[in-house]
């Protein structure tokens, strides 16, 4: 199957056997493609004994640590001039991840994102409010992962309204106008988890504004790290939003700049779901073997989408637990999992730094 055909498949419609066959054959070819087109990638694969002609299972394919994209230019497209750079701020703040996207790759990301999210929301475009500022999407050639996320999601609604100004202050007037206009209607809210918490929830709370968002569906993502610092749990986040504005229909998603588009949305049972366009493999730290259902490990993500850079198989620094495959009570097929945090670079002994 080629990518056009794959993009026609419903996101949660393939059972285990069919999906694994698809992933294995497609990802073997994709690995070979990157092997041919990306020199640093080929150097790695050659040394670890990869045979480009062999058909591997998708679980046997090599995976790159996400951090490798911070220190190396990894690109698989011959025509660099058509490439946009997507960068993420990087958790350490020192070096940034750079992802090189050509038009085809970027288009496929958008298509998949729309497919995945609409399978949760229905195909009708809903009125949409974005908890971010449109100022962050000004330069479209150098995009931050956050801006790329905002642009991608903005396609899901009709006439999206950005409710934060360039100083990340909530524009109350705009918010009220939006809410009045769509009173009684279902509508979509999108934002990064921390932005929703810091600039939306906290403002409503501080100003004691009692808005009614009970008809809204919130989709948010971007990780829990900053909220953990404020000691706000997933459940706490949900409770707070419900209390302050009646928002109850909330879906977190798990995704990353290295594999934008093929995100993992949380269903009503709190499980993150792998669509047919991607998969998760949970690995044990001790030897990178595959962990069983219910066992915590390091999350590896594979995606069918990355073509202009070798990011189709990535080892993240996130921890998670596979909860099952094809049998979530929400009826979606595919693997489903929960997140349990990030692996921390714990303080090592040694004399590396006298200034911490």
């Amino acid at each position: 199957m080629n990518i056009e055909e794959i993009l026609k498949i419903e996101p949660y419609s393939l059972d285990k056997t069919t999906k694994h066959e698809l992933l294995s054959s497609y990802l073997s070819n994709l690995t070979e493609y990157h092997y041919i087109h990306c020199e640093p990638y080929r150097k790695i694969l050659t040394q670890i004994g990869f045979d480009p002609k062999h058909k591997y299972l998708h679980t046997e394919l090599p995976f790159l640590p996400a951090q490798l994209f911070k220190t190396n230019k990894l690109i698989s497209t011959p025509n660099e001039s058509t490439v946009k750079t997507l960068y993420s701020s990087g958790t350490s703040g020192l070096t940034r991840t750079h992802i090189y996207l050509d038009k085809e790759n970027a288009t496929n990301q958008t298509k998949v994102l729309v497919k995945i999210v609409s399978s949760f929301l229905g195909n009708k475009r809903l009125p949409m409010m974005i908890i971010d500022s449109d100022s962050i999407i000004a330069d479209r050639n150098q995009l931050s992962a956050r801006a790329a996320g905002v642009i991608g999601f903005s396609l899901l609604g009709s006439k999206p309204v950005y409710v934060l100004n360039e100083n990340m202050k909530l524009n109350i007037e705009l918010l009220n106008t939006f809410l009045n206009q769509h009173e009684g209607e279902r509508f979509l809210v999108f934002g990064f988890t921390f932005m929703v918490y810091q600039h939306f929830y906290k403002t409503l709370l501080d100003l004691n504004l009692r808005q009614n968002l009970s008809n809204a569906i919130l989709i948010h993502g971007g990780g829990w790290k900053k909220l953990e610092r404020e000691a706000v749990s997933q459940q706490g986040f949900r409770n707070k939003l419900k209390d302050v504005c009646g928002l109850q229909n909330i879906h977190d998603y798990y995704g990353m700049a290295e594999q934008a588009g093929s995100i993992y949305i949380q269903c009503q049972f709190g499980h993150y779901h792998a669509s047919v366009f991607s998969d998760v493999i949970i690995r044990r730290a001790i030897d990178f073997s595959i962990a069983g259902i219910g066992e915590e490990g390091i999350i590896q993500v594979v995606s069918l989408l990355p073509t202009s850079y070798p990011g189709h198989s990535i080892l993240t620094s996130d921890k998670g637990i596979l909860r099952g495959e094809d049998d979530c009570p929400c009826k979606r097929l595919g693997k489903y999992f929960t997140l349990t945090g990030r692996l921390k670079q714990t303080e090592l002994r040694g004399c590396s730094d006298s200034y911490e």
Partner: protein
């Protein structure tokens, strides 16, 4: 100054501290104090859990100090401490502060020591012992020469202590040195800084085969590496094998198997380090030539074989059990490699004369940082090109 926690003394008097005077190195007062400290530490029940405290106590006892005096201060009344020594010690090493303080006391200075932010039981034991001594009449005055503080990073305290010190000792690495140096010290004051360094070890397989207990050798290597998460500046990253091809190929495996058993038994794997190991390996594959990974049973120990030895190898390193190996025909193969970036060389089965010869050839004082395997982290007043006693004191010109 905000957020400064004074660990010792209980009632600190800044005016009194500043007014105290430097004294000559290896003063009777300093030696008696350290010897008394050694006694308390040896008798403290908590020391049982920390062999490094015994090692420190052993270092501080009178007989050892007398020996060190002969090496570092052979002529009485020839030098005087600089004044106030400000020590900034690594946040993740328990014992470094204690040795730094001893260097400051024995060179005749008043000492301000910033302790690690991390909580270490070893530090409590030593600070308690100092407190106990300060309550004794005979050490009351001498212990006024010590100020032990804790404060968070980015605090004005660094700037203040820098402004009043006569010598500042910054225990690395490069980034910390750079940041701390932004705080100005007085024109007459000096900085002693320790940069990021790369350490290695050399193992002679021809000697290893005669070893009765290969487990002991693995234990020595473990003490140099895993004991500090392979993150001390003295921990080897490169393991160089010398000896006959046959001995190397058979004893290498025995060595690593023994180490693996020890690591399983004693070491707690940090899951994050496994990602770091994979990352380091892939970076090496991209940027270096002739890299081959040796298959190991798990992620506890990663071994990577080098077919050519270039200086670039120092750029890609990792902690927590990641080793680059190279087979050399003799230690002279290391000559082009031993640059200024090298710190400690752990040595097993190589005679001192061989090292002396290599030092002469290269015009390098490499031999001073050559340590037997298992002792690479052992403290010395001669550290990384600095003679701490001399640099923390000034000559008294009494020649004529």
């Amino acid at each position: 100054m905000k957020d400064i926690e004074i660990i010792f003394p209980r009632n600190f008097d800044l005016k009194q501290f500043i007014q105290m005077e430097a004294e000559e190195p290896f003063s009777m007062n300093a030696i008696s104090f350290l010897d008394a400290l050694a006694t308390i530490l040896r008798n403290d029940l908590r020391s049982i859990h920390f062999p490094e405290i015994y090692t420190f106590a052993f270092f501080c006892r009178k007989a050892n100090l007398a020996m060190l005096k002969r090496t570092y201060y052979p002529c009485d009344r020839s030098r005087l401490g600089r004044g106030i020594a400000f020590h900034i010690t690594p946040s993740n090493m328990a014992m470094n502060f204690a040795y730094s303080l001893v260097s400051g006391l024995l060179s005749g200075n008043l000492n301000i020591v910033r302790l690690p932010s991390q909580k270490f039981q070893q530090i409590n034991v030593i600070c308690n012992a100092i407190q106990t001594l300060s309550e004794k009449q005979e050490f009351k005055l001498f212990t006024r020469r010590i100020l032990l503080v804790k404060y968070p990073k980015l605090n004005s305290a660094t700037s203040y202590f820098s402004s009043i010190c006569d010598a500042r000792i910054i225990w690395g690495g490069d980034k910390a040195v750079e940041e701390i140096k932004r705080n100005i010290i007085p024109p007459k004051a000096i900085d002693i800084t320790f940069a990021d360094k790369y350490s290695l070890c050399v193992i002679n397989a021809d000697v290893l085969i005669k070893e009765n207990s290969p487990k002991n050798i693995a234990q020595l290597f473990y003490n140099d590496t895993f004991l500090f998460d392979q993150n001390a500046c003295t921990s080897p990253h490169l393991v160089v094998w010398v000896g006959s091809e046959e001995n190397i190929s058979s004893y290498k495996k025995i060595f690593w198997d023994n180490l693996h058993h020890l690591v399983i038994e004693k070491y707690v794997l940090q899951p994050y380090s496994t990602i770091d190991k994979l990352l380091t390996f892939y970076n090496q594959l991209i940027h270096l030539n002739g890299i081959i990974k040796t298959t190991t049973p798990d992620n506890l120990i990663w071994r990577v074989e080098l077919t050519e030895l270039t200086e670039d190898v120092t750029k890609y390193r990792c902690n927590c059990g990641y080793f680059v190996e190279y087979t050399a025909s003799s230690i002279t193969d290391l000559l082009p490699m031993i640059s200024k970036k090298y710190q400690t060389i752990g040595s097993y089965g190589i005679a001192k004369e061989e090292w002396d010869q290599i030092s002469l050839q290269k015009n390098l004082i490499v031999s001073e940082r050559i340590k037997p395997l298992g002792k690479t982290s052992e403290f010395s007043f001669n550290w990384d090109g600095h003679n701490l006693i001399n640099e923390l004191s000034v000559p008294l010109q009494l020649d004529n």
